[in-house]
Amino acid sequence: MNIKRTRSTGRDLVPINREKTEYGPKMKALPNDRYRDFVRALFHVKPGHGAQVRAAKQAGFGKPESTPETMAAIASRLANDERVQAAIREEADKHVRSAAPRALRALTGLIEDPTHRDHARGIAMVLDRTNPAEIVTTTRVEHDVTLSAAEVAQTLKRIAQLAAKFSVALPAPKIIEGEKA
């Protein structure tokens, strides 16, 4: 018996739940909900090759008859949009912050386990943050732009040479307090 396999169109993905969603300013600045769904989907779809296209489809971009090349172009355009990138940074920050309690629990477990290979490193990490060593550095910069008399003479000599070579009239020397400089 032949069983005909039908390729999934990818359109039967679980729709994104927007209820009771608090958006930050960058997410709110996106043009519409589809863009916001794209950003949120990027954090949920299977990572790897094609992740942006999967997120674009889940957000409702493209049509059922859109070719893979079309979807790739749509996903690329979305991912490179400055507003989308700003919203991704905002959402990523939320995800990192929400992972902080888990990270702290793991670190506590590491410190409590003397047999863990990173036990000492974990202790050092905590101590560095709670009781950091103070380093005081004083930097003094002295920049002397004064030319030496020899350098000045060399410059003036070269100016005179080139001015004579190209018949360039030099301005008259300045007169200071009734005497020539």
Binding site: I159, L162, P171
Partner: protein, 128 residues
């Protein structure tokens, strides 16, 4: 003969063997004239030396130092024209300096440009 007539006669008919002055030579002469105009002003000596070194780098087998020395600083009316041209951007401005119509206008305001070309051709063809 005024500068415009002289220019038309020289570039329409050319001298006997034609002018060797290329587009690059034309805009170099304009730059040399502008540089000499800048050198008339007040500036630190180190900056003056840099401008003079720019002039030195403009010389080649055709535009010898004595040819550059013949070029007079750009008068104010010509500088006003060049200021407008510079708004087009550095590369486009160079093309415009060398444009026959624009260069003709500059020669009318600064005849030393044409005198420099005539002398450069004379030296060039004498050498060859």
């Amino acid at each position: 003969m005024n500068a415009i007539d002289d220019f038309d006669r020289y570039f329409a008919n050319g001298c006997e063997r034609g002018t060797h002055c290329t587009k690059g030579n034309r805009y170099t002469l304009v730059l040399a004239s502008t540089t000499k105009g800048c050198l008339k002003g007040e500036m630190p000596e180190q900056m003056r030396l840099e401008f003079l070194q720019h002039l030195d780098r403009m010389t080649d087998e055709y535009l010898k130092p004595e040819i550059i020395a013949m070029v007079q600083p750009m008068p104010d009316e010509a500088e006003e024209l060049l200021r407008e041209i510079r708004k087009l951007g550095p590369m486009e401005a160079l093309d415009q300096y060398a444009d026959p119509g624009v260069f003709r206008a500059l020669v009318a305001l600064n005849p030393s440009l044409l005198h420099a070309i005539k002398e450069a051709d004379r030296v060039w063809y004498r050498r060859s």
